[in-house]
């Protein structure tokens, strides 16, 4: 795993200037979209454009300065991509807010709440980069992270703080704020999986008995991780959260495959997924209904398939370049501001913008995999891979669901759709990725040759870091 990409004949440049340039463009996307929303819906440039733009700029500049200070070698593309997606998402949510307000709906301050959550996300991003100077520290908390992740997943079952919203019991309510602890749990489980797998990957890959075509590892090597995985899956199934269980399953499989370098795991995982899907289809009525809606959406149109069919109508009407912000009817789709935000984009900005957004996610995942490739330590590799896999799977499940490629499951579109917990957790994910990439791209520290006489265990040694 650590064979290639470690001793390359070049050093990475810092590229902070390139990051600043891209951030300016990203801000133009975010603030430009906000202005276009005002012009399209109300016919005037929004009155609070300067205040809003200033706030967004301050957040982004704060994040950029932090990266310059504490992670100077970090990847230059990740932060701008995230800033652009977040800014565009805010503008689209604002556009829906304006229509909800005009239609006299109670809830029409999603954009303001989202901006608050983004502020919290950026603060946590800055705090993560400042406090966590070396991601390998997290390896010490392998089991703590796993336990904490599972506890967070259980929290919604607790009687007082647990909440059931829209049929899924995945919320907790603390002092008036509702929060999805599962979003944080997935980051913790990535840390736990990578910490465990990096220590036991040799045992998992080499020691074991061959059953049929697959080398099964010994129970004591696989046990702890299987327990961690099984418990989290069970909780998610009990919570009736199909999207997240799919996400965790894919994440677990990807990390196991990369850690052990055994394609057999993909076969096992594929079979397990098939069996699980079949069982869910026959046993759970909800799943069967979703399959039917997916296969024959028009048969159920004014009824249960209202949401996906309206989204398809909207995207079809939007066509190549869309109706223009404020000139479509995206509010017809229920939850257009969260799960179905991509259909809003498709209706008002067209396929052109949807392709750009999907490409942005592709680039984020590419950067995560790149970080995994060039990272010098196994823990960082696995963690970067896991974090990238989370984003990739989440985007695939959501975009596939909204566009009708796969049956619909509820997950938030990272950074784009309304959802505080997801936004905050994803900003921390980006901070962790930047921290790993800073370590990976930094030139290797140099040790001066030591004399035998001074190289006893008592002498301390100065390690140059630049």
């Amino acid at each position: 795993m650590s064979q290639t990409g470690t001793l390359m004949g070049f050093v990475h440049r810092r590229r902070r200037g390139a990051e600043l340039f891209l951030l300016v463009l990203a801000l133009m996307v975010g603030i430009g979209a906000y202005a276009a929303v005002g012009l399209g819906v109300e016919g005037v440039v929004p009155a609070d454009l300067v205040g809003y733009g200033g706030w967004l700029t301050a957040l982004i500049v704060g994040a950029h300065v932090t990266v310059r200070l504490v992670a100077p070698y970090a990847d230059p593309v990740l932060l701008p991509l995230v800033a652009a997606l977040n800014g565009l998402g805010l503008a689209v949510i604002r556009r829906l807010d304006l229509t909800y307000e005009a239609n006299g709906l109670d809830q029409h301050t999603f954009a303001r709440q989202q901006l608050t959550w983004m502020t919290l996300g950026v603060i946590l991003f800055v705090a993560t980069l400042f406090l966590l100077r070396d991601h390998r520290v997290l390896q010490r908390f392998t089991y703590t992270a796993g336990l904490l992740g599972i506890v967070l997943l259980i929290l919604p079952f607790l009687p007082v703080i647990g909440r059931e919203i829209n049929g899924a019991r995945i919320w907790i309510n603390v002092v008036g704020f509702s929060f999805q602890p599962g979003e944080v749990a997935k980051v913790l489980l990535v840390i736990a999986f990578s910490g465990y797998l990096v220590l036991h990957r040799d045992a998992l890959a080499l020691a074991g008995n061959r059953i049929l075509f697959i080398d099964l590892p010994r129970g004591r090597d696989l046990g702890p991780i299987l327990a961690m995985f099984g418990v989290s899956m069970m909780i998610l199934v009990l919570q009736n959260d199909l999207g997240s269980s799919l996400l965790f399953f894919g994440l677990f499989l990807a990390m196991l495959y990369v850690a052990t370098e055994r394609p057999g795991w993909l076969v096992v995982g594929g079979l397990l997924f098939g069996a699980g899907a079949l069982a869910a289809y026959t046993l759970v009525g909800n799943v069967q209904r979703r399959f039917d809606i997916w296969l024959h959406p028009m048969d159920y149109y004014p009824g249960t398939s209202f949401q996906p069919v309206e989204a398809m109508f909207g995207m079809g009407w939007g066509g190549l370049i869309g109706r223009g912000l404020g000139n479509g009817f995206p509010e017809r789709v229920p939850f257009a501001y969260s799960d179905f935000i991509l259909s809003t984009v498709g209706e008002e900005l067209g396929l052109t913008a949807v392709m750009a957004i999907v490409l942005c996610y592709g680039l984020i995942v590419e950067r995560a995999l790149r970080i995994a490739l060039i990272s010098r330590d196994g823990f960082g590799k696995l963690m970067a891979l896991g974090l990238g896999a989370i984003i990739a799977l989440q985007v695939f499940v959501v975009v596939g669901g909204v566009t009708g490629l796969i049956p619909l499951t509820g997950l938030t579109t990272p950074f784009l759709s309304y959802g505080g917990s997801s936004l905050v957790a994803n900003w921390v994910v980006i901070a962790l990725l930047l921290r790993i990439s800073d370590q990976a791209r930094r030139p290797a520290p140099r040790l001066e040759p030591v004399d035998d006489s001074v190289a006893d265990s008592e002498s301390t040694q100065v390690v140059k870091l630049r």
Binding site: G9, V11, R15, L22, L88, G324, C360, D377
Partner: protein, 159 residues
């Protein structure tokens, strides 16, 4: 607000969005190919880039190390020529320096060159690799006479 203005706004916004995406891609492209060879690797003679020179046996410069020698441990005197780099150290049969040390992992560490410098890299061993008194966590440069400890064995680069 006329229809045409709105159309122009929409097209302008889509253009900005794509300019952003394409700039991001171009930064990634330049990041991939635009990195420099480190100052130290240039040295006196302009060194070829590390990747190319890794495979070929190089003519040793004066004062450059030629072999890796076990100086202490179960198998003292075992040596491997640096011309065969990268060298694998471990208990496995594919290791260039095969050690019978119980505290050494099957694939324990690796010695490889980058430019004119030699690096030792731990391959995720159980007991770690030490350069001097320091346990290394990433590829570390070693010079002639620097003691690299794996398990109970000590290795050195020699001329």
């Amino acid at each position: 607000m006329s229809e045409l203005t709105l159309f122009l706004i929409r097209v302008a916004f889509l253009a900005i969005l794509w300019i952003f995406v394409l700039s991001a891609i171009s930064v990634i492209r330049s990041d991939m190919f635009g990195a420099r060879v480190p100052e130290t690797a240039r040295g006196n003679a302009p060194a070829p880039s590390g990747r190319k020179s890794n495979g070929k046996p190089r003519k040793p410069r004066r004062g450059a190390p030629t072999h890796l020698l076990v100086v202490e441990g179960e198998n003292p005197g075992v040596r491997a020529e640096l011309a065969d780099a990268p060298l694998l150290i471990g208990r496995g049969s594919d290791a260039a320096i095969k050690l019978d040390d119980d505290y050494v992992s099957t694939r324990h560490a690796r010695v490889a060159a980058s430019g004119d410098e030699w690096f030792v890299e731990d391959l995720g061993s159980t007991n770690g690799t030490y350069v001097g008194p320091v346990r290394i966590t990433q590829p570390t440069t070693i010079g002639i006479g620097v003691q690299v400890r794996v398990g109970k064995t000590i290795l050195e680069l020699r001329k």
